[in-house]
Symmetry: C2
DNA sequence: CTTTCCATTATTGTCGACAATAAATAGCTT
DNA sequence: AAGCTATTTATTGTCGACAATAATGGAAAG
């Protein structure tokens, strides 16, 4: 259970040794969960005071926030929290489909059998958690991302891992969290995960690729609906 | 001719307003062209002195260099120029194939006819340059990257554009430059570009995708050979 | 002679202050 | 009164110095 939290917050366990790291995690969470409103301007002096650090490490943190597309910076003008939009969602998921499809093909080839079995166990564990805590969206969120992380890590491609886990996934989470994802898709998602993992276990990269693309596409449509509801 | 240089060095014309920007471009070039040796350690005080700036903007530049995978940083330990390797090349081109394939599909859908025609003209222009300056690898380099840039921009997906043009292409250039790419592939590459663009013009995304993947795959094999020669 | 521990040195991370640029406000002109 | 311009204000970019951490070299023990 606490493992799930850890996994979601930091896919690749890097001990936050520097103060910029520490603050980065906090701001990331605040932005993703909407604590700092989407579209709002970011004041460096204000944030620095808030976290009791100087502007130097804060700017380092902001640079990394820009890297994962959570803020947008304009030279000599400042930074703003990104604004969620329909177009943004589409663009983001176009890439996800492609890259996570690739991750599946690679995982089918390179993911050690041991890791696959371990992930299988994790899926069952998530399922039981899900049964117990029906409707708690955070568990779905955590479990889903956890699954995707593992598959991506299984690709053994460092660039791919970096792009998806470090650069794209915080924004994905932001869409899901702020759209309040839960609903009836939960159990279906579990089945889809199972099917994908089975294909990977059978070393059938093509099928795993196809299933993952469908899975992500379905997830996108789910968020699209929420976004449309919210905008009207 | 000078346009070609500009295009290669800065795909999306952002006037380097801050001193960090200015220095970034210089270090990028130095790393890509091997002026700063691959695998060598980077000294912040030394570089700061060399460019007559303080460490603050230099560190900003280093952060962005890390972002495009030209250097690797370890907290409290420092930064090293990335080392080229067979595995790295494979991993990099796996992603390129996927993302540029996607870019082609999207370009076939969203690239304005006007832009396509303009790119067609650019291809012819490159061809004539090529005929005149037979064997000058830099022109091939510039022309090839220019073509890829245009197609990527045609996708109209900001995340895709950012990933390919800002994060991946400097490393691609580094492989190509340091492996000394020229040789007999030049004229074939022009034909492949033509074919891809024709498919995009016909709004045939599937075909453009396929052709681009083959084109990139062929380019990879070309570099693989050089790399193998160099390592033996 | 090798290995381990410690001190020294150098490098990175952080801080507070200053300079340059952009935003906000007030005053002037039409 | 509206719009433009100049001045003020605030924010970002940059600097030099200090603190904390890692790399280096040497001395002592085995």
């Amino acid at each position: 259970m606490s493992t799930i939290h850890m996994e979601v917050l930091s896919p690749i366990a890097k001990p936050a040794v520097t103060s910029a790291d520490r603050v980065l995690v906090q701001i990331q969470r605040a932005v993703v969960e909407g604590e700092i409103a989407a579209g709002s301007k970011i004041s460096e002096p204000e944030l620095a005071r808030k976290f009791n650090i100087s502007r130097a490490p804060l700017r380092e943190a902001l640079a990394r926030l820009e890297r994962c597309h959570l803020i947008e910076r304009i030279p000599n003008a400042g930074a703003r929290v990104v604004r969620l939009s329909y177009e943004g969602l589409i663009h983001l998921y176009q890439i996800r489909e492609e890259l996570e499809g690739l991750a599946c093909r690679l995982a089918a080839e390179y993911m050690p059998t041991e890791e696959i079995e371990q992930l299988q166990g994790l899926l069952d564990q998530h399922l039981s958690h899900q049964r117990v805590r029906e409707g708690e969206s955070y568990y779905q969120e955590a479990g889903d991302l956890d699954f995707h992380y593992r598959v991506i890590l299984g690709s053994k491609n460092p660039y791919l891992i970096n792009m998806l886990c470090d650069e794209l996934y915080y924004l994905v989470r932001m869409y899901r969290v702020q759209m309040g994802m839960n609903g009836p898709r939960v159990s279906r998602a579990f089945d889809e995960h199972k099917a994908i993992l089975t294909a990977i276990g059978n070393r059938d990269g093509e099928l795993a690729d196809l299933l993952m693309r469908r899975h992500i596409s379905a997830s996108r449509k789910n968020i699209e609906i929420k976004l449309a509801q919210q905008e009207k």
